[in-house]
């Protein structure tokens, strides 16, 4: 009893547009709907402040949330498939930890050695953090890919990934211990994750990177479907398992690295969205799950971003807290109701 795929996808798509507009509409400054629409359409009939808020703050933030959510979900789906483990996710393999380590080095060292707080460096600081995160994430990923070519079992790779995560966290702990307070604070804030850190100019670089790598990940759909069957069956069906594993881990790792570089380590979305999609679409076919995860990830990220900025919360709540607080009950209830359905079959 498979669900009708197309209407569900369409519904998700409509939901994205709705949430995107809501993201533009709601915030600590109230801008009426017709003004938002006018500004979006380029009619400059309103105050420059509103225009700036929309174009420089809310649009980049909404776009970042949309693409980051999509990328993290796809990445999580890829991890879960390649490791055939429902608990696998971007953060499990130590890739996020690698990014954190890179950022920790830059943020915490710049203070204690360079005698300057990174937060005061502005644009240069932002770029330095992004580069450090990407370098950190990709080096951990390279290590894991190298191991995946040497080791047979998936579980071994997963354990090594978790170990790398622990080592990275240990080093971060040592770095923190020797750092000044302001640096630790800025590192902790980075670690909370946010879709608003990407400034107006950088957001287009972020989006172009996503527009390049998300479609590339779709090229691996057939490989991932075969991987579901396990290494032996996949190989018997003509799949070069090692190569496929390399490609899927790389694709997943690059997506996480870029998102983490721009938004900090965003938890939960990458783990939860694939489960939600499997439950909603009643399928494990990646031809359905990949686009579904993309859409659902965008929906969830936009929604969490909205909650984080709800009027009433002055400033913004950390996205990581919201993703977990909002997402966990949703996923738990979906999986729970599905379990009941399974039992009653």
């Amino acid at each position: 009893m498979q669900r009708p795929v197309f209407p569900l996808m369409l519904a998700l798509f409509v939901l994205i547009i709705f949430l995107f507009l809501l993201n533009l509409l709601l915030g600590s400054v109230t801008i009426p709907l017709d003004a938002v629409i006018d500004i979006l359409l380029g009619k400059s009939t309103h105050t420059i402040i509103w225009e700036n808020i929309i174009w420089k703050s809310r649009v980049p933030q909404a776009l970042t949330a949309l693409f980051a959510g999509a990328a993290l979900s796809i990445s999580g789906l890829q991890m879960q498939t390649v490791f055939r483990n429902p608990l696998a996710g971007p953060s499990v393999l130590g890739i996020s930890s690698g990014a954190s380590l890179g950022v920790a080095f830059v943020v915490l060292f710049s203070g204690s050695i360079g005698q300057l707080a990174l937060s005061q460096l502005g644009y240069v600081g932002e770029v330095a953090v992004s580069v450090a995160a990407i370098v950190g994430a990709l080096s951990v990923m390279a290590l894991i890919v190298y191991v995946s070519q040497k080791v047979r079992g998936n579980v071994t790779i997963l354990i090594i990934g978790v170990m790398i995560g622990y080592v990275a966290n240990a080093i971060i702990g040592v770095l923190k211990y020797f750092s000044v307070e302001e640096d630790i604070r800025s590192y902790v804030i980075w670690g909370l994750g946010s879709f608003s850190k990407v400034s107006g100019d950088q957001v287009y670089l972020f989006i172009s990177l996503m527009l390049l790598f998300i479609p590339l990940s779709f090229l691996l759909i057939k490989n991932m479907n075969l991987m579901l069957l396990g290494d032996s069956y996949a190989r018997n069906l003509g799949l070069n398992v090692k190569q496929a594993r390399f490609l899927v881990i790389s694709s997943s790792g690059i997506l996480v690295a870029i998102v983490t570089a721009y938004c900090g380590p965003i938890m939960f979305i990458g783990l939860a969205v694939p489960h939600l999609c499997r439950a909603i679409f009643q399928s494990s076919n990646h031809r359905i799950l990949m686009p579904a995860s993309l859409l659902m990830g965008a929906v969830l990220a936009l929604f969490c971003n909205l909650v984080a900025r709800m009027p009433g919360f002055e400033g913004a709540l950390p996205v990581n807290s919201v993703t977990a607080l909002v997402g966990a009950p949703v996923v738990a209830s979906v999986l729970f109701s599905k379990r009941k359905q399974d039992l009653s079959e």
Binding site: Q2, I221, K222, L226, G230, Y233, N236, L237, S284, E345
Partner: protein
């Protein structure tokens, strides 16, 4: 002349670690024919799986050559091999949210394009495979809701959809109840006959294999591999020899195995037909050898199937005891034996062919 699909020449199999190699079996010369069901039999750990893995190119051979359809196995690449050999493994795929139809459809992967979409021909092949294995009613069921036997059939349908001339199965009858085992073997036999497939499987179900297989491969640590029809292997003593030391008795008359009993004592028994055979079987299980030729104080009269008379136990000069079921008979006999001085079982009572009274 039968078509040879798989030829092994001086094949050695085993594992290579960094410096040394562990040989599991060596100097295997054999052929497997198209349209035949070949069963690989051997104790746990003797290397059945290693052999299957080597033959399906999951693992390199240590020495010698494997030729598939006349060409060396090494000359095939992954994609070509996927169209020649399909496998059904013991490992249970943890597949959730996948329908039977989708899973069987994945068997078409070697033929599908970049995105893995199924063409009309592919869909036809999938339907044909599902029909062949007779799981049409399961077509839209989720794989994780199926029983082990049904899941095995689905994997076989997947192998059929792969349209390969060769199918390997690693213990396809394991974890199945007895009727399902029989059904599975009959299905495989039918596939080899009707579709001319070369089917090679490992199994622990000796009796079934001996009845259904066209060829048997007996794999043993000491003797190496003996190959032949079940009947040939029975006649030349390979089968008896194979299990000689394991408390299993190979009965050449029936061509089947029996468990050899250690007898404690012997009693005399007279009667005919099925009733006689059943009482005797029950007594044997309890370590009591019963036969007409035995000279003992205890004598049992079973009558034959047509008589409604109960079983009668005579003990020397005491009045005869009548019992209605074998259960009661066993209780009575055990009691009597307890009261008597112990009469050890003497070897000469054992006849050469203990099964037929």
């Amino acid at each position: 002349m039968k078509k040879k699909t798989i030829e092994l020449q001086q094949l050695s199999i085993g594992y290579k670690t960094n410096h040394k190699s562990k040989v599991v079996a060596q100097c295997i010369d054999a052929t497997i024919n198209a349209g035949e069901l070949t069963c690989l039999i051997g104790a746990n750990g003797v290397g059945k799986s290693t052999l299957l893995r080597t033959l399906s190119a999951f693992q390199a051979s240590l020495d010698g050559e494997i030729r598939i359809q006349g060409k060396p196995l090494k000359s095939y690449n992954d994609k070509q091999l996927a169209k020649v050999i399909s496998v059904v493994l013991t490992e249970k795929c943890d597949l959730r949210n996948m329908t039977v139809k989708e899973l069987v459809g994945l068997g078409r992967s070697p033929y599908t394009g970049f995105w893995g979409g199924l063409s009309a021909k592919d869909r036809h092949e999938v339907d044909a495979a599902i029909k062949m294995v007779q799981i049409k009613h399961l077509k839209y069921r989720m794989v994780h809701t199926l029983s082990d036997g049904e899941r095995h059939k689905v994997m076989i349908a997947k192998a059929l959809a792969q349209s390969t001339p060769i199918i390997y199965l690693d213990e396809p009858t394991a974890f199945l109840d007895f009727p399902s085992k029989v059904e599975m073997m009959q299905l495989l036999h039918r596939l080899s006959r009707e579709m001319g497939k070369t089917i090679f499987l490992s199994t622990h179900d000796l009796e079934l294999a001996l009845q259904i297989a066209d060829k048997i491969w007996l794999m043993d640590q000491k003797q190496g591999i003996s190959i032949g029809t079940p009947e040939d292997l029975s006649l030349d003593g390979s089968l008896s020899q194979f299990f000689a030391h394991k408390g299993i008795f190979f009965d050449k008359n029936t061509g089947l195995f029996r468990i050899e009993n250690e007898y404690i004592t012997a009693i005399r028994m007279v009667g005919h037909g099925q009733k006689f055979a059943m009482v005797r079987k029950a007594l044997e299980r309890n370590g009591i050898f019963a036969d007409r030729k035995v000279d003992a104080e205890i004598m049992i009269e079973t009558g034959n199937l047509n008589s409604d008379k109960p079983f009668v136990i005579h003990v020397s000069n005491n009045p005869p005891i009548e019992v209605c079921s074998i259960d009661e008979l066993l209780t009575a006999v055990t009691l009597i034996l307890k009261e008597r001085p112990f009469i050890p079982f003497r070897r000469e009572h054992e006849s050469k062919s203990p099964v037929h009274g």
